[in-house]
Symmetry: C2
Subunit: 454 residues, 2 copies
């Protein structure tokens, strides 16, 4: 191995090494090193590169890897890279991709090119692609590949073995089992590859097949698929249509990608970002997208301000209120976001439903009450000493308690409510929660002050 | 299949069904249905149950499943369930677990029981367990199992096949390849199971083995392991020690669990929660843990209040300042958390380093500047009209711009700085960022007002 091969460099140092070589202007050298990597690794490097360098490096990727690399970059970077390719390049890139991968990619191509890609496929492949595309992207049908190896129950194992020997390098990756189907292509069970090895070659498929793997339904959600793979430690699983006919196969690598994306969706969604956000997106594009989120937040901030404005006269009389009011609002926001986070995860894992929401709500209210007792006392003590006022201390303690209870209440119930009306709680939850805790916090504190501080 | 079997009920409806049966008091029936499920599915149900019901259901789980179920619940629920078991039950539960699983579990057992468990193991198993335990939990060594099937390069395939036939049901799950080692147990390469099937039985292992799978080093981080599995679509991979000797095997199911946990860590950490937080933890425990996070936040809130307090006199003169100041602080917090989120994800994926941080910083500053131009104008217009003051409009626009730039700056650099000093940015990032944007926001707005609003 060359001492300068990227392949032997630990992944975390590759970017640095590549940039050194690029800085030296040794493009040929860079191209050689780059193309020795896996497509997914090249994709990872591309995502890590600032805009200008990314364009140079993309030009160095060899044509036969283009398709696979496009598959592995996130949607935004993909759109950017596709934008730099011409039609023949794009047609070459999609050639030889698996059907499920092609289905992913084809939806991101410009419309004029999509039809050219479809025309370039043979009838069988086109039919399969349309099959995959007919299911939503986040369903089992959208995740599946159409390459399963099927066998009939009455066939002896040595015939199966001979068949596999003929297929040889065309046995798809992650084939840990063959699927048994009847004449009508209805799914019956699986034969594990290791069982093929260890049983008498004269046994029939029916004799060694295992029946306990329930097939996945094509319209099932990707989330259900992921939890099946996690609970059963699957490597691959059969997908059937509503009539029980085998239509495809899902492999664990696609499930891994889905779980990774789902995690990022929840994490990024919290800040109003998409999991496909490109770290080095062009400034204008980025600014435009972020602007929306800031705008939504500005509305809620104005709402909070207008609540404060209701009590302008009170603040004018007791300026200490202006000093202390952010404490009430912010403690509510923090406590509420803890409950909210717990509830959103529960929903995502399918562990929270209308059935046990009451238990969660009661528990969170109790936690909120306990915590407000502790922190209301601390805040009251500090505020009372600071502004030398028993009344102010009592007021802020009560307001804080009210806000923490409201926070627990909305944190527990907002996600369920949003999910019911079809809004993603991971995206909208935190803005709405902050609105509640700001408004209630200011209203409680300043309202009580208006009534009692005379 | 019984019409009342939980197994045939879609996972999302199982909880409801089980609770119905429990409500009827049909415990025996419930136990039968429950134990027909996979341990991971039982674990999922247990996590979804409120405290009291969880205890009842845990009592229904059959003893031979206890160990596997304990493995699949999160750390907190695990501690709770372990607390309800006596010593013989615990010893029975850990019997028959794989070494990597035992290693996970043994660290959560009470110390007195750990030694009893260790004593109950035979010498070989104990040695393996200590091997796994000698590596950190989040390293390749901690994730690995010690069950790989190894073969020598000079052996013909038919001997290997005979050996596998003898092993039969003892071939470990997710065995897609055998590992080739020399006399000193040094790793040489892999033989895929499908290659065993499709090559001439008289070929030797050396002739069919593939060399391009670099082994994973036992001290490598679990994060690196995950990215290897993701980039190479692996099902299993060999783990070697520093001398290249094969010490174990990592399988994709453990990688899936790690990726899921890592995603939850980032998501929950944002709200100061651990990924192991139990949705139905006892109120007192929960309250105590949350209290810490609220306390940290209270300190930052007091810091913000003391900044406001510096300008009490100014607010006393112009109460509109108190009404508008939360807008400046909150817009900074939102913009900053977008940058922060992007940077934390970049770090987690290994795509952000000191090398390209400058590019990210410049881009984020540019995005922040552009957005502040838009929103500063909007805020200035609204504030100017609302309070009929050009000076106030100009002030808030400048303060907002300053805060958005500070937000971009700290959002981009805080995570890198925290990571360098060994603090988890997913946990501490957002509190620190909010402190910056609150302090800078109030300081800029009220400070400018003090100087210019006379």
């Amino acid at each position: 191995m060359s001492p300068d091969s990227l392949h032997t460099v630990a992944p975390r140092n590759r970017l640095e090494r590549l940039q050194e070589i690029l800085d030296r202007g040794a493009l040929k050298h860079a191209a050689k090193l780059l193309n020795a990597l896996q497509p997914a690794e090249i994709a990872h490097l591309l995502e890590s590169l600032p805009y200008a360098e990314r364009e140079i490096v993309w030009g160095l990727v060899s044509e036969d890897k283009d398709g696979e690399v496009l598959l592995h970059v996130n949607d935004e970077v993909r759109a950017e890279l596709i934008g730099k390719m011409d039609v023949p390049e794009l047609l070459a890139a999609v050639e030889g991709l698996d059907t499920d991968d092609l289905a992913d990619l084809v939806q991101d191509l410009p419309l004029t090119i999509t039809s050219q890609v479809l025309d370039s496929l043979d009838l069988q492949r086109r039919g399969r692609l349309e099959g995959v595309l007919s299911y939503g992207e986040d369903t089992a049908g959208g995740l599946m590949n159409t390459d399963p190896i099927t066998v009939r129950p009455e066939v002896p194992l040595d015939v199966v073995l001979r068949y596999l020997r003929r297929l040889r390098d065309r046995i798809p990756e992650a084939t840990d089992a063959l699927f048994v189907v009847n004449r009508e292509n209805r799914y019956l069970g699986i034969v594990k590859i290791t069982d093929l090895l260890t049983h008498d070659p004269e046994d029939t498929v029916a004799e060694v097949m295992s029946l306990d793997l329930e097939p996945i339904l094509a319209p099932d959600s990707a989330r259900e698929v992921a939890s099946r793979f996690e609970h059963y430690d699957l490597v691959s699983a059969p997908v059937v249509d509503q009539d029980g006919r085998l239509v495809g196969r899902i492999t664990v690598d696609d499930v891994v990608d889905f779980i990774r994306e789902e995690g990022e969706h929840a994490f990024m969604g919290h800040a109003g970002l998409s999991e496909d956000e490109d770290m080095f997106a062009p400034v204008l594009l980025s600014a435009r997208r972020r602007a929306l989120w800031l705008g939504v937040n500005l509305l809620t901030a104005f709402l909070a301000s207008s609540v404060i404005n209701l009590f302008e006269a009170t603040i004018d009389r007791v300026v200490a209120l202006a000093v202390l009011m952010p404490i009430v609002a912010s403690m509510g926001g923090i406590a509420g976001s803890q409950t909210l986070t717990l509830a959103i995860r529960g929903l995502a894992l399918g562990q929270l439903s209308a059935k046990n929401a009451r238990s969660l709500l009661l528990k969170e209210l109790a936690v909120g009450l306990l915590n407000s007792l502790i922190w209301a006392a601390v805040v009251a003590l500090v505020a009372g000493l600071w502004f030398d006022s028993v009344a102010l201390a009592a007021l802020i303690a009560v307001a804080l308690t009210i806000n923490l209870l409201f926070a627990a209440f909305s944190g527990a119930l907002l996600p369920l409510g949003l999910a019911r009306i079809g809004i993603d709680p991971a995206l909208a939850g935190s803005v709405l929660l902050t609105t509640v805790t700001d408004v209630v916090g200011f209203m409680a504190f300043l309202g009580l002050a208006t009534v009692f501080l005379r």
